[in-house]
């Protein structure tokens, strides 16, 4: 090849290499599976693959990892758009799933026999119309308030069932020289829990909120109940209830503060529990959970983050082997394997007959009580395709006192318009 030829071919190969590279031509029992690189998910995926390969000799599954967060979103979309997606992939359900153009990119699973193993409550978050595209991966997470039990015991506090009781507790905690509420704005996503985990209370007051919100009829700034989550942050900021260094605290530091009792409350979801177990194993049992309280004690429940889904891209060349593997993941055996992964189960599976282990951390046991009472609601992002990208930054502004709750809610309503337009929803 001449030098000029090389100069031309090299960049072209870089551009087209990704799409031209043919999948390996080995037996079609060899498939790939894309999972995000969160430690708990990685561990569970490896355990599942090992068990599957053992039970099905000749079937090989190769794990491929991807970043989480928005980088992961873009990677998944790019892979689907260029036809280079792995044979099986795990990704969020709900609003993020809707953004994948499922009817174009994913293999329909509605009539697969293994869908009978999946609880019908999971169907809506992985469906377009009546067509179902995924099976659940892992357990649900639950948003609310993680609290330090030792602080509560020392100050003789009671679990609050109304917001007023919660704030009264905060006052006593502050007087005792402990930070009442931990915030961790170095990682902006953590700022959202007061708003997102309040959705149980919103839908209790307005059962139609999600539908009206999607149809551009309800707004955070307009609806007094929806606005409360924003005001909760503002109120705590005004009373100086956050830890002093909250503007630069990381998620990991916040979990340490909670487990060690330097802070009493951390609005968070149960996905934090495996990480507390890893960071502060000796203090894991000092952490408990209660639902984010609303105005009335009679309305008290938790907001649920439905598990991610596992999907098959329409472009896969190994559809049969992929379906076999995905189907196996809904089996009782697969649930056993996931239960064997320490710290993985943090709430219910959406699989029929699946039980979570008996020896659970105390905080997860607290969570399960709300499921037993049926006091749960899915988070808004699972019942509406709309979630604006800037909520976390807008809430940081409220928490830092840069803006007010009312202005922030209006700013978020404007932010959401972009997402709705992008999805081509009616009425926007």
């Amino acid at each position: 090849m001449t030098k000029r030829g090389i100069a031309l071919a090299l960049p072209l190969a870089l551009v087209f290499g990704a799409t031209v590279a043919a999948p390996s031509q080995a037996a079609d029992t060899e498939i790939t599976w894309l999972v995000d690189n969160g430690q708990a998910n990685q561990d569970a995926a490896n355990a599942l693959i090992a068990a599957y390969e053992k039970a099905n000799p000749g079937n090989k599954v190769t794990l491929v990892l991807r970043p989480g967060g928005t980088d992961g979103d873009n990677l998944v979309k790019t892979k689907l758009a260029t036809g280079s997606m792995e044979d099986v992939f795990t990704y969020n359900s709900g609003s993020l799933f809707q953004a994948l153009a499922p009817s174009k990119n994913l293999l329909e699973m509605t009539n697969e026999p293994f869908m009978k193993n999946v609880l019908s409550g999971f169907y809506p978050v992985v469906s377009v119309g009546k067509k179902v595209y995924g099976v659940p991966f892992g357990t649900a997470s639950v948003g609310g308030i993680l609290y330090n039990k030792k602080v509560y015991a020392k100050l003789k506090l009671k679990i609050p069932t109304t917001w007023a009781e919660f704030m009264a507790n905060n006052k006593k905690i502050k007087a005792a020289g402990i930070d009442p509420v931990i915030q961790s704005y170095k990682e902006t996503w953590t700022s959202q829990l007061f708003v997102l985990a309040d959705y149980f209370n919103v839908q209790a007051a307005y059962p139609n909120f999600a539908a009206d919100y999607t149809a551009n009829k309800e707004k955070y700034a307009k609806n007094k109940v929806a606005l409360r989550g924003f005001q909760y942050i503002e109120e705590n900021k005004k009373l100086n209830y956050f830890n002093r260094d909250y503007a630069s605290t990381t998620y990991a530091q916040a979990l340490d503060k909670l487990a060690l009792g330097q802070g009493a409350h951390y609005p968070m979801a149960t996905w934090a529990i495996p990480q507390i177990a890893a960071q502060q194993p000796a203090n894991l049992e000092d952490v408990g959970f209660f639902a984010q309280p609303g105005p009335k004690a009679s309305v008290n429940g938790v907001t649920v983050w439905v598990p991610s889904g596992t999907y098959i891209p329409a472009a896969t060349k190994n559809a049969a082997a992929a379906k076999k593997f995905v189907g196996w993941m809904t089996s009782a055996k697969a649930v056993d394997v996931m239960n064997g992964v320490e710290g993985f189960a943090g709430g219910p599976y959406y699989i029929k007959g699946a039980n979570i282990p008996n020896a659970l951390p105390g905080a997860v046991q607290d969570v399960m009580k709300y499921f037993a009472k049926n006091a749960t609601a899915p988070a808004l992002e699972f019942v509406s395709p709309i979630k604006g990208p800037n909520l976390e930054k807008i809430l940081v502004e409220v928490g830092l006192g840069i803006t007010t709750a009312a202005k922030a809610a209006a700013a978020y309503d404007a932010d959401v318009v972009k997402q709705a337009k992008q999805l081509g929803l009616k009425g926007w």
Partner: protein, 299 residues
Amino acid sequence: MSKAKQSKIKNPYSYALVAPIGIIFAIFFVIPTIVSFFFSMTRWTLFDWEFVGFENFVQYFKEASLAIGFKNTLIYGVVTSGLKVIFGLALALLLTGRLRAKGFLRSVVYFPVLVSTIGVGFTFSILMDPNYGAINKAIVAFGKTIGWETYGPGWLVDPNLLPLFSVAFVDVWKGVGIATVLYMAGLASIPQEYYEALAVDGGGAWDKFRNITLPLVRPATAAVVILSFIGGLRSFDLIWAMTNGGPGFLSDVIASINYKQYQAGFYGLATAGNVILLFFVLAIVGPVYWFFNKKEKQA
């Protein structure tokens, strides 16, 4: 030389010789630019697109943080290029003077230029951490020695401190080496005879600087200002590594706003933002370039 005359001069290279780079230029620069103009007018999800005319531009100008972005982009460009002129010239004067270990000191000044921007950003965001960072620990320790209980400032997180200036300071630290080198070249090209003439007339050090050095390094000043101003206007990596545009939107610049649109999957909208950024930079740099070129010819 007029444009008409210019085009009549025969190209000294054959087309066969320039064709390869021409094709690469077309594939990687011309076509993407044209394509981006197109996609800026679509709603584009990567999976399909829909032509929406100028709706993206309308939506983009409604962006709440856009006003902050434009303001910050300008402030950042002005502050960093201004400080680079001042420190670059001062360092160049120092390093071209009589000095021991001149070579070593020159490499010390230039060294930060060679380090990865992201690495510098992460390092400084750790140094500037209000609790655990070395800077605030030093301030707190110093405060104790003079009996003053203090809690160091939140360099990157305190909304009252304008975190953008902390980032601009790091940008200057990292980029001043290039300005220094440009100024050293500019200083070296000033004929010694001028200084000798001034010495004969009895001028002091300040006269030397004011009347000879400063006017005659104007070409270097022009290069430093334009380079660092363009760099400041399109700056993104350092800001992203240090603050992610935060807290909230306080240190957002246009490029970081665009990046967040891509992150959110609003590809058409983000592309429209980049088209706007292109025209914004052209609109500002054009006059600056013209101004310095004009002055240069007069001088």
